[in-house]
Amino acid sequence: MTGTETIAKPPRTGGPRPGGGRLPLARLRDFALVPAILLLIVVGALIDPVFLSTANITNVLQQQTELALLVLAEAIILIAGKFDLSLESTIGLAPALAVALVIPAASNGLGTELPAGLAIVLCLLTGLAIGAFNGLLILRFKLSAFIVTLGMLIVLRGLQIGITGGQNLFDIPPSVLYLGSAVWLGVPASIWISGSLFVVGIVALGYFRHGRSVYAIGGNTDAARAAGIRTDRVVWVVLMIGGLLAALAGLLMTGRLGSVAAAQGDGMIFTVFAAAVIGGISLDGGKGTLFGALCGVVVLGLINNILTLAGVSAQWIQAIYGAIILVALILARLTSGKAQD
């Protein structure tokens, strides 16, 4: 650092001098999962040669795109120091509502039969509206984010069942199916979409003032407010982006599966939190990177795939999967050295 010598230096301050190795260490934390990913790839290749085939890798990635978008949404919300459990219901309700509004009543639609071209817009608007409503309850009425979004999780799930009569929707307009099933340049469109949104997120949170304000709010809201950041507005926008991303994830899932399941997204939120925390996102807010969160998603996807390829029986896979998540958390705790709450 040049220029530090121009003014008489103050006496050495007490205690250990910070700086030096600290930042590289913090940076390193972002890449902590890269060796784990490499290790998993080696293990996968040893277990089954099919693992490294393009088809399998593409398949693994495509299956993870919806989870990845939810993790992207949750990671930003967690960094801002808030919570959103309702994402897992948004992923089902948003496409279900959009589809129900455009398909005929005979196919379990609502009978409004709006133009099919509107479906995608309706789906995304639904996600945005859910995020905005969460924001209203959390920020304007000062309710606990945890309980608000838990309530919303149940309400939204119930709405979906009410709207669809508890049925899966099969008569999906082709426009809705497109994003989740199209292949661009030999790679599924959903991988392009998720990948590029992560790039956008990483750049926005790493290199733009408004993105950094998300970290500032999660790290110390009062300090952020004192620095002139409109904290409520930023968090509100973050929650709306979260809803929007969850709705987009719903579109991708609908396209990939060809239908909107009545229980679409059910139970996903646990995996979302696991991926985010394994990826180094702090539940206290203000800490972690989207790259780390993405690594968390990839790790979970690889583990799932390897367990399947290794022929672990379907009855046991869930228990092992859960145990691995716990081990990963313990390792993250040991490497970061900080308590997680």
Binding site: G3, T4, I7, T13, P18, G19, Y215, N220
Partner: protein, 509 residues
């Protein structure tokens, strides 16, 4: 240039900051009653007053965080900007609070330029670190801009916050008890830095509980008491006694304490014995003993470590070194049940946070520590619980509809009686009470202190940790803590001024 010349030269222009006839109420509490302050450009002005005198309210009004109910604020003779215009406020005044306003998870550089890292465009991190390094170097702050702010020492954090304030263009800086968490050498360095900045035209408002420091760095001093402005004087025109008198009021009244109780014989057994207790950042090398039947006070400013010491005795904290012996037993450190089993009764500082479970009944709250004695094998016999609670309600004069009323319905004083009843429930040998009468009305105060006296008369050794002089009047002796050490052992017969000047760190005349 001496400090005197600076003051004289600066007084010509309008004050750098001025509050006139400012009043502020919070509900029924009057926080400020047409109080005022005028800080001349280029001076270091002290703001002193006891807890609750209105200092914090005045600071939050001067920094634009609160709107006064009436009165006006001026900077350099110009009316203050509207509260919504944070940028304008930041260019006029900055405050370094005791509570950190940095974001620990971000780097020093980012903290310095928070929300102004870049305009609309991409952040140039390398450039940002360079700007931060230049800024820090410009003020001679030796901190790595790439370090995480959470890793800084208190001293470094303060310097970073001062540099940030100056970088906004503010030339008037409020330091809210900056020395509270610093050691002596760091305090000296901070004062050197303040004098340096003062010579470049920076104005300081310096808030401290340590009057010694006021004489060291300040040119003028303003005293607040009971929400009112008492005086503003050049420090050299004000003797220490006059300053303490202004803070406590009623100079003539020398209340002599504890006259009614018979002295405790030196042969009485020691029930609480603390030896060489140390907890980094709170206190160091504390020794104290309390004999059976003795009432010992412990007073000190907020940063003196007295509450941490009480919490260590109760097992809420674990000391780094030293021992706590309660009635001859040495309980396992850091464990509340062990301390209670050894014969300790403890009344925590904040009854809402640590003292009571608000939705549970008076009976359940009061009998919590003795639940094991209310029936066999962990069963709590309702009839015995009820009877015990009723006995306590009578003994401590708790105003309640009955043992089944939730404590959240009780008034502050009665809730505190429940906590005290609980602390005394297992007939403790040693009793540690932290701020026993905080937020309690006068009548409840008397009955609470009466119960404490009775406990001492019944043979318990009592340690009363409090800032309230009234709590300490019946004590046999009062220990004064300052910067983590017990610096004085004041026998019965002290006057208010004696004790306050000891607490504020003034050498004995």
């Amino acid at each position: 240039m001496t400090s005197h010349e600076q003051t004289a030269g600066a007084a010509a222009g309008p004050p750098a900051a001025q509050a006139r006839d400012v009043s502020k109420r919070y509900g029924a509490t009057v926080a400020l009653h047409s109080a005022g302050i005028a800080v001349q450009a280029g001076e270091t002005h002290a703001l002193v007053g006891r807890n609750g005198a209105g200092k914090s309210t005045l600071v939050s009004i001067l920094t634009g965080l609160q709107r006064p109910d009436s009165g006006e604020i001026r900077f350099d003779g110009v009316a203050a900007p509207s509260l919504a215009d944070r940028d304008a406020w930041r260019q006029r005044v900055a405050c370094v609070y005791q509570k950190s306003t940095i974001i620990p998870t971000l780097t020093v550089a980012e903290n310095l330029f928070l929300n102004r890292q870049a305009g609309r465009g991409v952040i140039d991190w390398r450039g940002l670190r360079r700007r931060a390094a230049d800024l820090l170097a410009g003020y001679g702050v030796d901190v790595d801009p790439a370090a995480l702010a959470g890793a800084l020492t208190v001293e470094q954090r303060q310097l970073v916050e001062i540099a940030r304030a100056l970088s906004f263009g503010a030339r008037f800086i409020i330091l809210d008890e900056p020395t509270a968490q610093l050691d002596a050498a760091a305090i000296d360095r901070l004062f050197d830095r303040m004098r340096e900045l003062q010579s470049t035209g920076v104005t300081f408002l310096f808030i401290s509980h340590h009057l010694q420091e006021v004489y060291e760095v300040c040119q003028r001093v303003t005293v607040l008491r009971d929400a009112r402005h008492i005086l503003t004087e050049p420090v050299e025109a004000l003797s220490r006694d006059e300053l303490v008198a202004a803070m406590t009021g009623e100079t003539g009244r020398a209340l002599v304490a504890g006259a009614t109780r018979p002295p405790v014989p030196a042969t009485a057994p020691v029930v609480l014995d603390v030896r060489g207790l140390r907890l980094a950042g709170h206190y160091d090398g504390v020794d104290l003993t309390v004999r059976a039947g003795e009432l010992v006070g412990l007073i000190g400013s907020g940063s003196s470590g007295k509450v941490a010491l009480a919490e260590t005795i109760a097992g809420l904290r674990r000391a780094d070194a030293g021992t706590v012996t309660i009635a001859g037993n040495t309980p396992k450190p850091g464990q509340v049940p062990a301390a209670l089993a050894a014969g300790l009764g403890y009344l925590p500082q904040d009854r809402h946070r640590e003292g009571l479970v608000p939705l549970l009944s008076v009976a359940e709250n009061a009998t919590m520590p003795i639940a094991g004695r209310l029936g066999p094998a962990g069963i709590i016999a309702p009839a015995r619980q009820q009877a015990t609670a009723e006995r306590m309600i009578r003994a401590y004069d708790i105003k309640t509809d009955g043992p089944h009323q939730p404590v959240s319905d009780l008034s502050g004083g009665n809730a505190q009686k429940v906590v005290l009843a609980r602390a005394l429930a297992n007939d403790p040998k040693a009793l540690v009470l932290v701020s026993p009468t905080a937020g309690v009305d006068v009548r409840s105060k008397a009955s609470l202190l009466g119960a404490v006296d009775e406990a001492a008369a019944g043979g318990a050794g009592v340690l009363v940790v409090s800032d309230e002089l009234d709590d300490l009047r019946s004590c046999d002796r009062v220990l004064v803590m300052f910067h983590g050490q017990v610096i004085r052992d004041v026998p019965r017969g002290w006057t208010d001024a004696d004790l306050v000047s000891a607490v504020e760190g003034m050498e004995q005349p």
